[in-house]
């Protein structure tokens, strides 16, 4: 087994929704309004090994992007610990050049590129500022990286709006690669693209991973993409990880009822990429999640106990880790 590159322990992140001052005032004068605190990520623990790809899957709003930003070190945690190669983030982030080893590719190919900067600067800026390449050689350096992501050298002097969606995402990937990361977090990196373009970008990411041995966290709500790319998969529901398993095992024998429902909604034979089938029942509001197991209002095997007890992640015989009180019962 490879060395551990990243470890997260009990990561949580809450947001205060609405204007804090007026929210408090309103609470004071109108009595029993519930506090407007949203737990976007709730006690999530993850590990990632060198060269490994971990998938994170879950419905929209379940906290994937929040988790990704905390792992990337661009969003403070409410509680929990993050370690990169054994070093806590607090000290890592203080040394900017080392913190560059963790990079992220964003979902929206347009808004993730500064519209006022030319591609040359978007890609080369950080490398120059952090001294990875002297200013005099940055042009060749950037052209080199653009070639790696399949963009022509003359992209250098152009602006993001002059490119197609797929090309923009390539620029975003080039920007990350330019600072030589060891760990790449892809937050729905292909979700905004056309299906044909999605395949190209996924192939590009696989090439990069093969060539440089990057560790990756690949976030998606598209199960077939996850299955194609990842070594292990974490399934999230309303801010919590409900199942964590090797990809093969997860798709062969899902343990958690939520995972099963996700897979049931997936076309059986083809590799055709599909979004989730809608699952029965509304997705509860993350502002007031159901008690006990968050999934109980939609769970076919929910019992009375599920309303009261929060299920903890535990390992079952097969080596899968899941958070369900009743799975053994099936």
């Amino acid at each position: 087994m490879n060395e551990m590159i990243f470890e997260a322990k009990d990561l949580s992140r809450s947001f205060t929704v609405g204007h804090r001052v007026f929210g408090d005032l309103a609470n004071r004068f109108m009595g029993d309004r519930p506090p407007t605190v949203l737990r976007a990520v709730d006690n999530v623990s993850l590990t990632l090994r060198e060269g490994e790809t971990l998938g994170v899957v879950g419905e929209s709003g379940c906290g994937k992007s929040t988790l990704a930003r905390m792992i990337a070190g661009i969003l403070p945690v409410s509680s929990g610990e993050r370690h990169f190669r054994g070093e806590p983030y607090d000290s890592l982030l203080a040394r900017k050049r080392d913190a560059l080893k963790i990079q992220m590719v964003f979902q929206d190919p347009l808004s993730s590129l500064n519209p006022r900067l030319r591609v040359g600067e978007i890609v080369g800026e950080a490398a120059v500022l952090h001294g990875l390449v002297p200013r005099s050689r940055v042009k060749e350096y950037v052209i080199d990286i653009l070639a790696r992501v399949g963009l022509p050298a003359d992209s250098l002097g152009r602006y993001p709006h002059q490119f197609s969606g797929g090309q923009r995402q390539r620029i975003g990937i080039a920007r990350s690669l330019a600072v030589k990361p060891d760990m790449l977090i892809c937050d729905e990196a292909v979700a905004a693209l056309d299906v044909s373009v999605q395949a190209q970008i996924i192939n590009l990411l696989m090439d990069i991973r093969r060539d440089s041995g990057l560790a990756m966290i690949f976030i998606s709500h598209d199960l077939s993409v996850i299955r194609h790319l990842c070594d292990r998969v974490a399934v999230m529901y309303l801010g919590r990880v409900v199942e964590l398993a090797e990809t093969e095992q997860l798709f062969a024998s899902p343990a958690h009822p939520y995972t099963r429902m996700l897979l049931d909604g997936m076309p059986k034979i083809s590799l055709e990429r599909r979004k989730f089938m809608p699952i029965k029942g509304e997705i509860p509001s993350p502002l007031s999640p159901p008690s006990g197991c968050h999934f109980h209002p939609r769970c076919p095997i929910a019992t009375e106990n599920c309303r009261r007890t929060r299920p903890e992640l535990r390992e079952i015989a097969s080596g899968q880790v899941h958070a369900c009180l009743n799975v053994e019962a099936i």
Partner: protein, 403 residues
């Protein structure tokens, strides 16, 4: 901004005729400001060139050269007269004297026939007088206004003394020059056209410098508030709310009342009034930019907060800030003019447009309208043009009005 982006912008801008005309007018004013010394017929700051005789002349009048004064001592000795010129030496006329019979002495100027405003004879011997002359109440001075042919006669009923000396002072008529005051003159005889051109220069200069300084300061505070949030944001924004709640003119008056007047103080007053607009705008647009993923990407690239704010966020807020700047130049100019009009702005020796309007105000009821009206019209046109220009830029920047 890329060139295609700019061309597109220029094209959309040009769709409004008003905007194009406003732009042209604004550019003309900027040119006036830059080239006032080359364009203006006189230097209105050169007080030595001013003549009170030119004061309050209406548009189209010509400048008059004041008449010269020639003095000469005329000495009589045994019936013959000799002339000793006194100051000044360099004149067009000279004084002549000759006898005109018994007890009569003619005094005149050469060349003959020169029109004089007056010819004064002083220190006549007792008993003598000047034909057609008025005697000074106290002094032994006789003055003849507009003497015929420029000569007068000293006569006496009794015998004139053998030897005596008189002083003759000849004043020639004012002469017309071919210099025309195209917009008339003010109360000091200053050419209004020159004064207005220099006034535009001062007003535009004060407007640009003040609005520019307010832009830098206000944008800085706005970015700081957006980036730091929390207490910093609250303090800055309460200060902004406070400033926005006060009438600009009142704040300007209060500041200048404390500091005294002068260009730098007027600029300071305008900056204190205007920074809050930029702070509010910069903050709100910076906050919306900070929410975009490219900022998170920059953070992930471990760029410093200063670099993220100045290199990434600020350029994306610039269009809105530039619009505000255009509108605020006009506001700064009008505020400066108001303050100067109220007498707390710029000093009288270097008048801005507002000062000119104020200085004409005392004459407006004596039908000397031009001193106030012309600078007033110029100010009006300038402010309207800049406001229309700013409005157009704002409309072009407003995504909701995008077609």
């Amino acid at each position: 901004m890329s060139t295609t982006g700019f061309n597109d912008f220029a094209q959309r801008f040009a769709e409004s005729r008003t905007a194009v005309i406003s732009l042209l007018i604004s550019l003309v004013f900027v040119a006036c400001a830059l080239f006032a010394p080359l364009m203006s017929p006189t230097d209105p700051y050169d007080l030595t060139q001013l003549q009170l005789s030119d004061a309050l002349k209406p548009a189209g009048s010509t400048r008059m050269l004041p008449g010269e004064e020639v003095r000469a001592n005329i000495r009589f000795q045994g019936g013959t007269a000799s002339v000793e010129p006194a100051s000044p030496a360099q004149t067009r006329q000279s004084i002549t004297a000759e006898s005109c019979g018994a007890n009569c002495l003619g005094v005149g100027v050469a060349p003959e026939g020169t029109k004089l405003a007056s010819l004064q004879i002083r220190n006549l011997p007792a008993g003598a007088s000047v034909e057609g002359g008025k005697k000074h109440i106290v002094q032994p001075w006789w003055t003849v206004d507009n003497p015929e042919d420029g000569r007068v006669r000293i006569v006496s009923n009794s015998q004139l003394p053998e030897n005596f000396t008189v002083l003759a002072i000849a004043k020639s008529l004012d002469r017309e020059t071919d210099f025309v005051f195209r917009l008339g003159t003010d109360g000091f005889g200053r050419d209004m056209l020159s004064a207005i051109l220099y006034g535009i220069r001062i007003s535009v200069f004060v407007g640009l410098v003040a609005a520019g300084a307010a832009m830098v300061l206000g944008t800085g505070f706005g970015l700081l508030a957006a980036w730091r949030g929390g207490v910093t944001d609250a303090i800055i924004m309460r200060a902004v709310d406070f400033m926005l709640g006060l009438p600009a003119l009142l704040v300007g008056l209060a500041i200048l009342a404390i500091l005294g007047n002068g260009v730098s103080k007027v600029v300071l007053a305008i900056v204190i009034v205007q920074w809050s607009y930029y702070a509010r705008t910069a903050r709100s647009f910076a906050i919306s930019e900070l929410g975009k993923e490219y900022v998170e990407a920059a953070r992930c690239l471990r760029l410093s907060p200063t670099r993220i704010m100045l290199r990434h966020v600020l350029p994306n807020c610039m269009p809105q800030i530039i619009v505000l700047f255009t509108l605020n130049i006009a506001a700064a100019i009008s505020l400066e003019s108001s303050l100067s009009f109220l007498g707390v702005g710029l000093p009288l020796t270097r008048p801005s447009l507002g000062m000119l309007i104020a200085s004409g105000y005392e004459f407006i009821f004596s039908h000397k309208y031009w001193i106030s009206i012309y600078p007033g019209v110029v100010l009006l046109v300038m402010i309207v043009a800049m406001n229309l220009l700013g409005d157009r830029l704002r409309d072009l920047n407003n995504p909701r009005l995008d077609r």
